[in-house]
Amino acid sequence: MTPEDLEALLALPLPVRARTLSRSLWVGLQTTRKRGPGGTFRELRPYDRGDPLNRIDWRASARLDRWMVREDDRLSHLKVALLIDRSPSMDTPDGPVSKRARAETLAAAIGLHAIRQGHSVTLLDGADFQPPAGGRTGRTRILDRLEAAPPTGRFTPPVDACAVHIDLVILVSDLLDPGSEVLLESLGDLTARGRDVRVLHLLDPLEREFGLRGPQSLDLIEADAAARLRLDASRIRNAYLNNLESFIVTTRRIARHADIPLRLSAEPAQLLTDAVFLASGERT
């Protein structure tokens, strides 16, 4: 996708661009870590106490001379929560290719894609939890929510509620909120409890590369107090990039420890790649 294609896509109404993007995703791309009978074969593992005897793979057990149990991916509909950061920090930069526009497009596309596969989806962009829904209801809820005005204030999704009701949690955020490390760690608790979590770390190219030069005037978004900084961007560029790189390393380390697939996306033109990652959990 070229930058021109991206601009053309993001200029479309949200339902249209969501459908356009979701049609590019393959059905069946969604995977789950839930195991259970009835699905496709996943793996063999040693027998553990309490496993049903009918799950024992006799041929493999005979071959390996130990009791082996056959594990399949469970065939069931998933409950998907889309945690979409729509806080003011996502509004940068101004224009059609803002981080929020990218996040909303991805959320709508992934939501429609999941519903098309029979899953139920809920979109959470604030502190309230709404149960997931499928079919026409779920689709309408997602699009209505995304087309409504974004909530003000910081992004504090109800992660605890997801632990009870949700199978797959997808977070799309720039992680610039001061509590983002805590959010990642709490998502790590979900993976420890058997939930799937995927994180798309959205950054704007200007934020990632800090392409500013010379004197700049910056209005700080989501700062404790509204402030405007005048600074020489050329002088602080190295320090900024060092700090950002350190932050990225930290977030990656947290995600790795929590077994969360995390993708850093600072290139808007790779929207489709981002969508594939969110749908499959694997980097392409």
């Binding site: 003011p88 101004d94 610039l176 005037s217 005048r230």
Partner: protein, 849 residues
């Protein structure tokens, strides 16, 4: 001013204005969410911002105007007062050469342009209401200028080019005037006054690059000096006659009737126009009949004043201490010291230090000076073997022997020559390594010998000069000579053998205004250079007759002058006996200072030099772009702690290892400093615990130490005594700290202290009985004083590469890791979280990609 100059000026002045207007546009406010990664997000002071722009404009305008001034050449060249002083002229007639040679060169840079400027200035100076300018453009003189209608400069600029004129025409012009006229000829060639009518006054103002007619004598030479065609370059004597040497940079021909003396020398006598007395130039050619005289003949003319020291060749690192000590020991006597290069000015009053890597041409130069009376100091090195003149070669000297000789005694030859040295205690000298003479020259004079009778210092004459040869090298591992109390008196005595014909030598303080007042030498600032860890001197810059030169000197008191921000000076003679090897220089050369110097230079420089200066100015224009160049971290060593050479070597070794094993750049040279005089600029101070701790030391030291610690510094006390006194030593320091600062206690550093994780993950303490265990001084929140035993000594090596302290390999490796952790702890707090290595790693990956 010529029109060309005005055009240049207008164009040049427009550039910074446009730049300024373009760059002062206010940036559009931009929403920025990733503010948490901005370093120190403090709003810029609006008042500072407002004032910054006009300063920028002024600086840019100045720089461009300087470039323009340089481009238009002598049009804006400063004319010295002597050039404008024409004495008592009553009825002047100015004859301006209008020949083609006066019109050669770029517009604004032609001899005629300079003549126009000069004539304008003279006209204004004398306020002549009448007078005349004759411009010779044919075979007769046309008096075609009326002073009441225009200035002569503007008039000349408007003239058409003349053709085909020469000396004969000039003479014809001059001959056409009244006999009682004061005649001033402005020309690029020397007039031939013979045959002219006798007037009241005849003067020649030379412009351009005049070629002196053969055998034109003293006046021609004086004119050359006055108009800058002779490059005066050299040492400053500090006497009333500022020249110590003249470098003749133009074809120099002896008079046709001149005959060389028995040494093959020609003698020119030269009257300086504005100075009393005369200079004598002696030109010596090895084969005067065979060599043409129209090439450039460098002539170094000693005229008295203070002697100098020049380092010849590249000294070995272990010689740095010797060399710098020698310079400092004799610096009361010497005027300056520097490395001998092609453009420097050796005289017969120079002490050459032959370090062993001398290029042949420089050696030739030095040798000729030695034959004329200079002193050379040599020592046996392999690289001398190729030159038959240097007879202290391995063929002359036996291979190295380990002497281990206590005591050195002066010979009667030395005491006869310098009786004042008899009272010195020569027995304190210990020589570990000596090069015995194999086949000494018959004229060799032994000045010092060991207790076993082996010669240690010998001298022999070479022409009018003398060569002193040490039969040991200058490494501290070979002898303690450089740090012994006999060192300075001995060298001062040797320096005194350089005669002082003027008898008026006196010390010129490089940082005083006195130097700046001296003619033709304009002191434009003080800067300090970093000399690659080989010892250094302070350098100052001066313009000397249009040439930018770097001179070295030191401050007389050895202390930091008040208000000196650009660097520091340490005169470590006060600590002789335990002097660190390097003279510290803490700041890089100030680029703004260089730019200022270059600007001054530009206004006087010859055209060939201006391109380089223009580049310098352009580099200096963006403020701050090149200013912060202190990328290397350094370890600071307080001088009062009495650091020994072995520990300093250990520091250098450790920093080298740090560079190898980690990413940050670290300077291999520790920075000696005084607590009372300066504050360390880097956060790690290494304190040698090699001597008994005196609790009655100056309280100011304690306050300075605590001030350093309160600013986040780390103090590393490296105990290098025996294990029995380790605890006692710690207690003494603890009591001392408690007396002046917050009370605290020593405790053994726990194995899980963060110090063991800052870079290497160390599991507890390795072999604490042998390697010792670090202690930490805790006083409230202050946890930045570490006491470690034998860290740097354990890491130091002898000049032959052996470890100074025998330790098992594992213990040594553990010491290295502990040292690196300490340095990381002190300089980065947390190496990994600070991620200071990331830029280096990214750069490396980029290179290998």
């Amino acid at each position: 001013m010529t029109r060309a100059f005005l055009a240049w000026l207008a164009i040049g002045a427009a550039i910074p204005l446009l730049l300024h207007l373009f760059t002062r546009t206010r940036p559009r406010p931009r929403a920025w969410a990733a503010w948490r990664f901005l370093p120190q997000p403090e709003p810029i002071d609006e008042r500072v911002r407002r004032i910054d722009q006009p300063w920028l404009l002024a600086l840019r305008t100045l720089a461009v105007l300087a470039l323009v001034g340089g481009a238009v050449g002598p049009t804006c060249t400063r004319l010295v007062a002597s050039e404008l002083d024409l004495g008592d002229l009553r009825n002047p007639l100015f004859i301006v050469d209008g020949s083609a040679s006066m019109l050669q060169g770029r517009a604004g840079n032609r001899p005629l342009d300079r003549a126009a400027v000069w004539l304008d200035r003279v006209w204004r100076r004398y306020n002549w209401s009448k007078g005349a300018v004759a411009v010779c453009r044919g075979t007769t003189a046309d008096i075609i200028f009326d002073a009441s209608r225009a200035t002569p400069g503007a008039f000349l600029s408007a003239l058409e080019q003349g053709t085909g004129l020469g000396d004969a025409v000039l003479a014809a012009c001059a001959g056409a005037v009244e006999p009682q006229t004061d005649l001033v000829i402005v020309s690029d060639s020397a007039p031939d006054w013979s045959g002219l009518p006798t007037g009241r006054s005849r003067r020649w103002y030379a412009v351009g690059q005049p070629t002196p007619p053969a055998n034109s004598g003293i006046d021609t030479l004086a004119s050359h000096i006055r108009n800058g065609s002779i490059v005066l370059d050299g040492h400053y004597t500090g006497t009333d006659r500022p020249l110590i040497a003249v470098r003749w940079n133009q074809p120099l021909r002896p008079p046709a009737t001149a005959r060389p003396d028995e040494h093959g020398r020609f003698r020119f006598e030269l009257l300086l126009p504005d100075e009393p007395g005369r200079l004598t130039i002696e030109v010596r050619r090895d084969a005067p009949d065979a060599a043409p005289w129209d090439d450039r003949v460098p002539v170094w003319v000693p005229t008295g004043g203070r002697p100098s020291v020049q380092l010849l060749g590249v000294p070995q690192p272990d010689e740095a201490m010797f060399l710098t000590d020698l310079l400092y020991a004799a610096s009361d006597r010497l005027h300056f010291a520097t490395a001998l290069e092609h453009d420097n000015v050796p005289t017969s009053r120079t002490v050459f230090l032959l370090a062993g890597q001398e290029p042949a041409d420089l050696l030739d130069t030095a040798w000729s000076r030695v034959e004329a009376g200079a002193i050379a100091i040599a020592r046996p090195v392999e690289s001398h073997s190729g030159d038959p003149r240097l007879r202290w070669t391995p063929g002359w000297i036996h291979p190295v022997q380990d002497a281990a000789t206590p005591g050195v005694r002066p010979t009667t030859a030395l005491l006869d020559r310098w009786p004042q040295l008899a009272d010195l205690d020569w027995s304190v000298i210990h020589v570990q390594r000596i090069y015995p003479l194999a086949d000494p020259l018959p004229e060799l004079i032994v000045l010092l010998e060991t207790a076993d009778g082996l010669p240690l210092l010998v001298a022999h004459r070479e022409g009018a000069g003398e060569i002193f040869t040490w039969l040991t090298d200058f490494s501290p591992a070979s002898s303690n000579l450089p740090v012994s109390p006999v060192w300075a008196p001995l060298w001062l005595a040797i320096m005194n053998t350089l005669d002082d014909p003027s008898g008026t030598a006196r010390i010129v303080d490089a940082e005083s205004a006195e130097l700046a007042r001296l003619r033709d030498l304009r002191l434009i600032g003080t800067a300090y250079a970093r000399p690659n860890g080989r010892g250094s001197l302070a350098w100052y810059s001066a313009t000397h007759n249009g040439r930018l030169a770097l001179y070295s000197t030191r401050t007389p008191s050895g202390e930091i002058p008040a208000g000196t921000a650009s660097g520091m000076h340490v005169d470590h003679r006060a600590d002789s006996g335990s002097a660190p090897a390097n003279i510290p220089v803490s700041e890089p050369l100030d680029l703004w200072f260089l730019a200022a110097g270059a600007l001054l230079w530009l206004l006087q420089a010859s055209w060939s030099s201006r391109a380089g200066v223009a580049v310098l100015l352009l580099l200096a224009m963006p403020s701050g772009a090149l200013a912060d160049d202190l990328s290397e971290l350094q370890i600071w060593v307080p001088i009062e702690s009495g650091a020994a050479a072995a520990e300093l070597d250990g520091i250098a070794h450790l920093t080298e290892l740090w560079e190898q094993r980690s990413s940050p750049e670290f300077s291999p040279s520790p920075v000696p400093f005084r607590w009372a005089a300066t504050r360390p600029a880097d956060p790690l101070v290494w304190w040698a615990g090699c001597h008994a701790f005196r609790p009655d030391r100056d309280p100011a030291l304690a306050r300075a130490t605590l001030d350093f610690l309160s600013r986040g510094g780390t103090l590393l006390i490296d105990y290098c005594g025996g294990p029995a006194e380790y605890r006692q030593y710690a207690r003494k320091i603890g009591r001392w700290l408690k007396q002046y600062g917050p009370g605290g206690t020593w405790r053994e550093l726990p194995g899980n202290h963060v110090l063991n994780r800052t870079f290497y993950l160390l599991d507890g303490w390795h072999d604490p009985e042998r390697a010792g265990r670090p202690w930490l001084y805790r006083a409230g929140d202050l946890e930045r004083i570490f006491l470690v035993p034998n860290l740097m000594r354990g890491l130091s090596v002898t000049p032959l590469g052996n470890w100074n302290l025998p330790l098992p390999a594992a213990t040594r490796e553990w010491l290295i890791r502990q040292g690196l952790n300490l340095m990381m702890y002190a300089t980065t707090y947390d190496y990994k979280d600070d991620a200071i290595h990331l830029p280096y790693i990214l750069e490396r990956r980029k290179r290998h990609r």
